[in-house]
């Protein structure tokens, strides 16, 4: 199993550009999550999904959108990139009965200039 994969690993965006961060898992997990990590701030939940077709906002959803058309994939969309979105983004997944045991991808480092 590859686990949780994320692409790209690094990306530089100009202000106002848009992009999609890809996330896929091959563990048949129902739950998937997007976090952002800023230095000294821990991880903040952006969006999460409890199954295909079901998504919900986390703590810091503004400026982001998600979709979950399949169990495996959970892309994160940035429509109008802003410098405040410079961060490291982590995707994670878990089973529904062990939501505390999340499996994380390697992260995407995004810089918006």
């Amino acid at each position: 199993n590859a686990g949780v994969t994320q692409t790209p690993k690094f990306r530089i965006l100009k202000i106002g550009q848009s992009m999609t961060l890809q996330c896929a898992q091959d563990m048949n997990h129902n739950y998937m999550y997007w976090y952002r990590q800023d230095p000294g701030m821990g991880l903040k939940l952006i969006y999460y999904s409890v199954g295909a077709g079901i998504t919900d906002k986390g703590e810091v959803p503004n400026g982001y959108n998600v979709s979950r058309s399949t169990t495996e994939d959970f892309p994160l969309r940035l429509e109008l990139a802003a410098p405040s979105q410079t961060s490291v983004y982590f995707c994670a997944s878990s089973t529904s009965d062990r939501a505390y045991e999340q499996y994380f991808g390697p992260g995407t480092r995004l810089t918006v200039t």
Partner: protein, 117 residues
């Protein structure tokens, strides 16, 4: 609201020395508490968990943590640190999410551990 606080931003220990990383929680009932580790350039990995029962829990890589309700703490310990333990450590609490049947982790801000050879 449920939250966790990690008072130490950065700790440095010598290899072979003992380690204790602090975590304090804020929660009305018995919390579900966790420690995760993040090695440089990697995602997070679950070290150990506490739900109920025995207040001393064992985890992977030789780590343990003790739940103390009277102090609202869940400190992580290791008797002898190895250079490979250098990483960032996050305490987390499980809370119910806004969606039906959903649960979410709330993470502390992390403690970075440096190990001197």
């Amino acid at each position: 609201a449920q939250s966790v606080t990690q008072p130490d931003i950065h700790i440095t220990v010598s290899e072979g020395a003992s380690l204790e990383l602090r975590c304090n929680y804020s929660y009305g009932a018995t919390p579900y508490l966790f420690w995760y580790v993040q090695s440089p350039g990697q995602g997070l990995q679950l070290l150990l968990k506490y739900f109920s029962g025995d207040t001393l829990v064992q985890g992977i890589k030789g780590f343990e943590a003790e739940f103390k309700r009277s102090q609202s703490s869940f400190n992580l310990r290791k008797p002898s640190v190895h250079w490979s333990d250098a990483a960032e450590y996050f305490c987390a609490v499980l809370r119910r999410g806004s969606g039906a049947g959903s649960y979410q982790l709330t993470f502390g801000k992390g403690t970075k551990l440096s190990v001197i050879p």
